[in-house]
């Protein structure tokens, strides 16, 4: 009945605002594609969310801290309300952190939330990365996003390091000195790098201000960009999902963004924030007042970096103190080698997806998350890498292990040195065996059904356990994964009998491929024939 103008006047306010925005931003088209976008559900998919939310929490609390923190190394005498430090010389940075902790109401809480969120952020990224790794979610088309995520992890480490160096306390100063020593070990340019970073000799009067701009602007800025790109790609690729009835490589099954995912994910932000706030209320972190201001000639025993820097600490602790003096120069291998291994440890996991895709030669898209057991070699590699990392973490706390377990430092150091080379190999072998065992069990379940726990006595007196056959859903789930065949080099002579040139890399690839997919390196899935044979008669015991 009404004319268009009438209709427009009657439209509710929300719609009119949306119309306004649509005319300028095109929000309806955007919403059409995304408002009811489907997200699959699995607990491990929440790990990435933990990272995103802790990052947001860090930014919020970090901005608050900048309102009170003075990034200056000018010396002042403390006259705040914490009595034991009154009259002490300290930098303005330390002084203002004391002020935040003792004189600003809620300042301590925000500081502790900032620090706890940083620890959780890094731990979240580590576990999230491992989730992606073990499910093979890094495969095409997600390789670039794997690299974005990896970069976030590495940058997060350095943002954390520059952050906990800001208060200029005795513990963090020791860490900065460690970094200076490591930079100085770089051949030829190390001394210059160190002088340029510190504005001259260590510690000088510049590094807090320099770390500050790196910590609050440069690195978080890059990370924010990467995180947005990471999320855009997650949206664009759509999430991976585990195989299951109706869940294929061509679809994604789950619940729509509006309302379910929005409520769950939005709610989860508050859960993460709430938990971190409670932790910050009851567990103190980095109590700088107990540690005291930095002095290059003082140190506290049991100095430990934040956990994510622990593996570099392990490297530097267990390395023998090799030093080579030649032609008036010193090659500080005892420090420089750990400095080189540090990025190599990280790079090892970062490049793995590209190695795997080279070995499989698979150019297809993969959207089904692997069960780790179904990729035994990859899983074994991942566990080996984690083992490697953990060995170094143990090395980083060698003094703590020694005092807590009454061991000698010497023993621990040698344990770590040997385990650095041996433990990953053992972990690899053990993991692969476990995966193959699990694959065998899956195959048996498919063919013979699951153990029901009911024992039956046969007429001739034998006891057998009744196996319940699996339903079609379970059968599908256990057989949905693909299995590659090992790559073949092909005949070594061509059809004319002329020897074909086979490059080294081709041979290497064939060898690796056999190690991945050859006989004994994966358990063949049950075939339909086997299944028919067993179920159609004598099969059940």
């Amino acid at each position: 009945m009404s004319t268009t103008t009438d209709a427009r006047r009657e439209a509710p306010a929300g719609e009119r605002i949306a119309d306004w925005a649509d005319g300028r931003l095109g929000i309806y088209s955007l919403a059409k594609a995304n408002m009811r976008k489907i997200f699959p559900d699995h607990w491990s998919f929440m790990l990435g969310e933990i990272c995103m939310y802790s990052f947001i929490i860090i930014i919020l609390t970090g901005v608050y801290l900048t309102l009170f923190f003075h990034p200056s190394m000018n010396e002042v005498v403390y006259d705040g309300s914490y009595v034991p430090l009154q009259g002490m010389h300290m930098s303005e940075a330390f002084n203002s952190t004391m002020h935040i902790s003792f004189d600003v109401r809620g300042g301590l809480l925000i500081r502790q939330i900032h620090h706890w969120a940083a620890l959780i952020f890094l731990a979240g990224m580590f576990v999230h990365m491992m989730r992606v790794f073990f499910t093979g979610a890094f495969r095409k088309p997600r390789e670039v996003n794997w690299l974005f995520g990896f970069l976030l992890f590495v940058l997060g480490m350095f943002t954390g390091f520059t952050g906990y160096s800001l208060p200029d306390d005795l513990l963090s100063g020791t860490g900065v000195r460690f970094m200076e020593g490591a930079i100085m070990s770089v051949p030829i340019v190390g001394t210059y790098l160190s002088f340029f970073l510190f504005g001259g000799e260590f510690p000088g009067g510049d590094f807090v201000a320099r770390f500050y701009s790196v910590h609050i602007l440069l690195l978080p800025g890059i990370m924010l960009g990467l995180m947005v790109a990471h999320l855009i790609l997650v949206f664009y690729h759509k999430h991976t999902q585990f195989a299951g009835p109706g869940r294929t490589n061509k679809n994604v099954v789950g619940m729509p963004l509006l309302p379910v995912y929005m409520a769950k994910a939005g709610g989860f932000f508050f859960l993460v924030f709430g938990v971190i706030a409670v932790v910050a209320a009851i567990a103190s972190i980095n109590p700088i007042w107990a540690i005291g201001p930095y002095r290059p000639d003082q140190v506290s025993t049991g100095a430990q970096p934040d956990w994510y820097m622990g593996f570099s600490e392990g490297l530097i602790r267990v390395m023998p103190g090799w030093e080579i003096n030649l032609w008036g120069h010193t090659l500080v291998l005892g420090v420089f080698i750990p400095l080189v291994i540090f990025p190599l440890v990280l790079a090892t996991i970062a490049v793995y997806p590209f190695i795997e895709s080279w070995i499989t030669g698979d150019k297809r898209e993969h959207h089904i998350a692997d069960r780790p057991r179904n990729a035994p070699t990859r899983t074994a590699f991942g566990v080996a890498w984690i083992t490697w990392y953990m060995v170094l973490l143990i090395g980083g706390g060698n003094d703590l292990w020694a005092t807590h377990f009454h061991l000698s430092i010497n023993v621990i150091t040698w344990f770590v040195r040997i385990a650095f080379f041996v433990a990953p190999v053992l972990a690899f072998v053990a993991t692969k065996r476990i995966c193959l065992g699990l694959q065998r069990r899956d195959a048996a379940k498919v063919l013979h059904g699951r153990e029901s726990g009911i024992i039956k006595r046969l007429p001739h007196g034998e006891f057998v356990e009744i196996h319940e056959p699996l339903d079609a859903n379970a059968r599908y789930k256990l057989t949905a994964h693909e299995q590659y065949k090992p790559a073949e080099i092909g005949p070594t002579v061509d059809e004319n009998g002329v020897a074909r040139k086979i490059s080294r890399t081709q041979k290497l690839r064939a060898k690796l491929s056999k190690g991945y997919f050859g006989e004994g390196n994966q358990i063949p899935k049950p075939t339909a024939e086997e299944y028919e044979e067993i179920t159609s008669g004598h099969g059940h015991h």
Binding site: H89, G106, F196, G246, G267, A277, P296, V335
Partner: protein, 349 residues
Amino acid sequence: MSSQENSESLPEAQATAHGAVETAGDPFADPGLPAHKPRIQDIDERAAKRSERAVAFLFFLSMVATVGFIASYVIFPVDKIVFIFPFGHVSVLNFALGLTLGVALFCIGAGAVHWARTLMSDVEMPAERHEIAAPPEVKAQVLADFKQGAAESGFGRRKLIRNTMFGALALVPLSGVMLLRDLGTLPEDKLRHTMWSKGKALINMNTNEPLRPEDLTVGSLTFAKPEGLEETAEDFQTQIAKAALMLVRIKPEDIKDKRELEWSHQGIVAYSKICTHVGCPISLYEQQTHHVLCPCHQSTFDLSDGARVIFGPAGHALPQLRIGVNDEGYLEALGDFEEPVGPAFWERG
């Protein structure tokens, strides 16, 4: 109710979900999406009401907690410390603010998640995926467009323009590199010198008084700084980072190193306190063996044998300072360290 993308793929999937499950022949065929199982809230309005009340209660609790936060902020003084089991001595304000904030946030989250899980539709829907790579026509079009654009620019034809442009773009960042030059002074020989020089008295770090040989007893570790270096000095941190000294008294007959004995005064030896590994100050002393330990990475040095490394990652001995006694009977340096103190570096030699 769902976007186009979803509804397109619905019929097919549902057909398989409710249709022939036993796909003839293949026992491992995809049986299709299972039918939705209703929750208790979907069929029992009373259960749904209960969920509704639970969600509302959580949101209400959050409001109460926020009021509690504001009240705590106003009530508790910032410097009040109390004992709360099992957390020990804590700041009441921090404790109250954190808990109330935590509860306020957590309850919003718990409410939202409970709402989603119990009351919002939990029907799972499939959405189709589309290949990421563009179809061939699109690719062909893009390549053609690019070729045309490139041809119109003359980029390939006018090599002079192209090469000079590359040259200009390659050079211009050099200005940025130049600007970094003043980030720091050059090392020159700064790392070879400390504040110590001939005639400088050794000042006790703790008492700020000059040291006499009698002040040092066997078995004790004493830290010293050069005369004239005050804590208030602007470059105190940078100077002490190199000049920090430790002194011990060892029975001269126990000193194994000949030069060490020569450079000592009646068995009092002075070594740099800065570890030669990566520069931590050394702080632990074992009286019987005259070993000192760096607490950072456990490098251990034998002070009775030229401070050589006997354990740990340090690469060379601690530098020794040559000391003597001045006319007034105070310990003094007889010169600077003869080699750089602290971590090794390329030019150290």
